[in-house]
């Protein structure tokens, strides 16, 4: 126990502070925070759907929750059920096996909801294009609000994508 506490104290807060240099990243982050606050009461629940990706995108998405990026500070967190989600984060070229699953996940999410398709595969099916196992890009299965390009996209891009999607949140 004492060793653990010592370690915690020594490391301090690992999350990158916002008031560093006024970089691009920080601006994005600020905007996300402001927008989530305005639109969702600063609470955005994300359900991640891996529709056949190579897991490259997942690695970056996971990075969003680590102490460095700590998406939780903006009220963005990942949930275990689409019933709890506001936004679906879909990765990968949609394989034929995952087609139904993706559709059902979309169906299971309560309105209002958003879909962000992550990675190049999600838009163009990438190198998997034309394979017999592929059902098509994400937007052919479910309506997509925003595509995030990149193979894989960086966490910053992900945040930017989420931010853009939030613009489409229905005004009540």
């Amino acid at each position: 126990m004492p060793t653990l506490l010592q370690k915690i104290l020594r490391v301090g807060i690992a999350t990158e502070q916002l008031d560093l240099a006024e970089t691009d990243v920080v601006q994005v982050v600020r905007q996300v925070e402001a927008k989530t606050r305005r639109l969702l009461g600063r609470s955005l629940a994300i359900r991640e759907v891996d529709a056949g990706s190579c897991n490259g995108c997942e690695l970056e998405i996971t990075a969003l929750t680590n102490p460095l990026y700590d998406s939780e500070r903006f009220g963005i967190h990942f949930v275990a059920s689409p019933r709890h989600a506001d936004l679906l984060l879909v990765t990968g070229p949609v394989t034929r096996h995952m087609e139904v699953a993706l559709r059902k996940t979309y169906e299971a999410t309560p309105d209002p909801k958003l879909v962000v398709a992550v990675g190049d595969c999600a838009k163009t099916c990438g190198v998997f294009k034309g394979s017999y196992a592929i059902a098509g890009s994400v937007d052919r299965i479910v309506p997509v609000d925003v595509f995030v390009a990149g193979c894989p996209p960086e966490p910053t891009d992900l945040l930017r994508g989420i931010l853009t999607a939030l613009d489409r949140w229905p005004k009540s």
Partner: protein, 678 residues
């Protein structure tokens, strides 16, 4: 007035029995037989209530009938009247329910005549047990009750299992009767068999004889009540009997064991040393915990309920044991607390267990199976049955503000007060009893989540469940009556409890003034500030639950609702085979209590001949043999079988030899009687 009610009870039941033998088929016949039973039960209930309210006993003496045993002596005092009323509470709905339920026996299955007649006679015998005022009448009616219920158990005699259940029942019951006869013989001595003489004679018995009488009655009545390990007949006989008969047997008949125990231990013997109370408490705790633990492992809906009867008898006995313990220490007001807790639980158990058995019967009627693994989704197909079963399930799980909670609260309070009793046996027994009672109620809640959830919720697991239909109106009325009683007896406890404490007035040296357990709308524990006001609580709860939607509406919360498939993690189709089963639901508890259950496991995996990585089928089989079967009854049956085999040598088939046996027995008896004379 009382005379009329009494005669009406007797006549209605007798006519019912007669009518069933003469006709009793067809819609009209069935209705007539059932209605007569209901009338008899109503009259009995009214008679019981009259005696309780006026506090005056009702007596009837017919010396000409049964002259050998001292005549047919009947007397209904408040204690008996309470149990007579309990019979009425369950018998009225059960009779009405039976009218519709019996339709399945119109065809060849079982004899409707026998069923109707035995049903009425069973009710009559039970009623007269509470009225009996001498030993002979009591034992005769007790035996009549056992025999008629035996015939009711084997109604569906085309099934081998039913016959076996009947055999178990009749065997255990008669072992019990043997204990009772011995106990009553010791109690009677040279006196006449009248109960008033018994009271006098009991006070002259030596302490050792009193202890022996107590033990014999505990065993005798315990076998009827279903204490562990004498409960083995319950999980066998209850599923076999028609459901409304199970409701009566479990709701009422086993309670007459409690009646007998109270009558002898408290009334005749006037209480005893502390260890009587501790013994009853221990027996009660063990029955309660083991009953519910084995109930959890059952997937046969009616067997599950039968094991719960064992559990609830345990809870009743815990109250009574605490009462006897306080009685022996002379703290009479606390003794009343424990006894009232036990008695109130008797009434409550009668109502909710009756209800649950009727509900299980309704499910059986609709699906034709008792196996929970083949049910599911009945909520939408049988909404009324589901609602009533839910009320029963909540009541038996002791959820406030229903009736089961009140009686468990009383028993809890009695046990908590018991912690203050000096003496090391109480200091050890009481905390364990508190823990076991709490464990019991927690496990009961878990078990009824299983029973209700698997049976009624989600998707149907079989074709039968899929095509189930709601039961006929009369069956729903029967269940509805009991459900209403369960709800009313919760907050209504403040009206019933004073009556219960009045019943106990003067019994076995309890105070002549009824102990007040209520104050205003509160239930109040004597010599303590523990109290609950159930009506206020119920009101607060209803208000809290009811006002939430209103407040949400006022807050303009989003009320849109969309129906969609269940979230199955994106599965193509969620089929009933993927649902959680009753076995799976109980699995964690089976593991937790593995040391007790010692389940046998058998796992067979068939793989493809080419490669062991391709599994073709997996079969899993796990069985639990209750330890009392394993350790007590199996050896016992072997022993009896062994002895019977030896005795077979006596059977030669020669008439001369049999005559010799007769002569020898006669001579032996003569000598024996001379020896007893001396």
């Amino acid at each position: 007035m009382m005379q009329t009610l009494f005669l009406l009870t007797i006549c209605a039941y007798s006519l019912g029995a007669l009518g069933a033998i003469l006709g009793g088929r067809g819609q009209l016949g069935r209705s007539l037989v059932g209605a007569l039973a209901a009338i008899g039960a109503t009259a009995g209930l009214l008679l019981g209530l009259t005696v309780i309210f006026t506090g005056q006993s009702f007596t009837a003496f017919v010396p000409a009938l049964l002259p050998v045993g001292g005549g047919l002596a009947l007397r209904l005092d408040p204690l008996g009247a309470f149990f007579l009323s309990v019979i009425g509470v369950v018998a009225i709905p059960a009779s009405l329910y039976g009218i519709a339920y019996n339709e399945i026996y119109e065809s060849e299955r079982g004899s409707l005549r026998l069923l109707g007649a035995m049903f009425n006679l069973f009710l009559l015998a039970m009623s007269l047990v509470t009225l009996a005022d001498n030993v002979f009448t009591f034992l005769l009616m007790w035996e009549g009750m056992s025999l008629t219920s035996y015939f009711l158990v084997i109604t569906e005699s085309d099934e081998a299992e039913t016959i076996r259940a009947g055999n178990w029942y009749i065997a255990v019951t008669h072992v019990g009767v043997a204990f009772l006869v011995a106990a009553f013989l010791m109690l009677t001595g040279n006196a006449s068999g009248a109960f008033s003489d018994l009271r006098v004679h009991a006070s002259n018995l030596s302490p050792l004889a009193r202890d022996l009488v107590f033990l014999l009655t505990l065993l005798g009545f315990g076998s009827k009540a279903g204490i562990i390990p004498l409960h083995v007949w319950l999980p066998r006989a209850h599923p076999a009997a028609p459901s409304y008969v199970s409701a009566l047997m479990s709701g009422v008949m086993i309670k007459l064991g409690i009646y007998g125990l109270l009558r002898v231990a408290l009334d005749f013997l006037g209480g005893g040393p502390a260890w009587w109370g501790v013994l009853v408490l221990v027996v009660g705790s063990v029955s309660a915990v083991l009953g519910v633990l084995y109930a959890l492992m059952e997937h046969d809906l009616k067997r599950l309920l039968a094991y719960h009867s064992v559990e609830n008898i345990g809870i009743i006995l815990m109250g009574i044991g605490a009462g006897l313990l306080f009685h022996s220490y002379g703290s009479m007001s606390l003794a009343v607390l424990g006894l009232v807790g036990g008695l109130y639980h008797t009434l409550n158990h009668a109502s909710f267990k009756g209800l649950l058995f009727l509900g299980a019967g309704s499910v059986l009627h609709a699906t034709g199976t008792r196996n929970m693994e083949e049910m599911g989704g009945l909520m939408k197909r049988m909404p009324w049955t589901a609602l009533f079963f839910l009320i029963g399930a909540a009541a038996i799980s002791a959820l406030p503000p229903l009736n089961g909670f009140v009686s468990e609260w009383l028993v809890f309070q009695a046990l908590l007060k018991g912690l203050n009793i000096p003496g090391i046996e109480a200091a050890i027994a009481m905390p364990l009893a508190v823990g076991m009672l709490a464990l019991t109620s927690g496990l009961a809640a878990a078990c009824f989540v299983k029973a209700f959830g698997i049976t009624f919720l989600a998707m149907p697991r079989s074709h039968e469940a899929e095509s189930a239909r709601e039961s006929p109106l009369l069956m729903r009325i029967g269940m509805g009556m009991l459900a209403a009683i369960c709800v009313v007896l919760g907050p209504g406890a403040i009206a019933v409890i004073p009556l219960l404490s009045r019943i106990l007035v003067g019994l076995g040296g309890l105070a002549e003034v009824p102990v007040s357990l209520t104050e205003g709308v509160s239930l109040q524990v004597p010599t303590s500030s523990s109290q609950i006001a159930l009506p206020t609580l119920a009101l607060a709860l209803l208000l809290a639950i009811g006002s939430i939607p209103v407040i949400l509406k006022l807050l303009r919360v989003n009320f849109r609702l969309r129906r969609s498939e269940s979230w199955g993690c994106g599965l193509t189709e969620l089929t009933p085979r993927m649902e959680y089963t009753a076995t799976a639901f109980a699995e964690p508890l089976r593991r937790v209590f593995a040391e007790l259950y010692r389940p046998s496991k058998e796992l067979t995996i068939d793989t493809h001949p080419e490669s062991k990585y391709f599994v073709q089928s997996i079969a899993y089989r796990s069985e639990i043999t209750p330890w009392f079967d394993r350790m007590l009854y199996t050896p016992l049956l072997h022993l009896i079988g062994y002895i019977a085999n030896k005795i077979r040598r006596l059977q030669s088939g020669l008439v001369h030899l049999y005559l010799l046996y007769l002569a020898l027995a006669l001579m032996g008896l003569i000598f024996a009687s001379r020896w007893i004379e001396r």
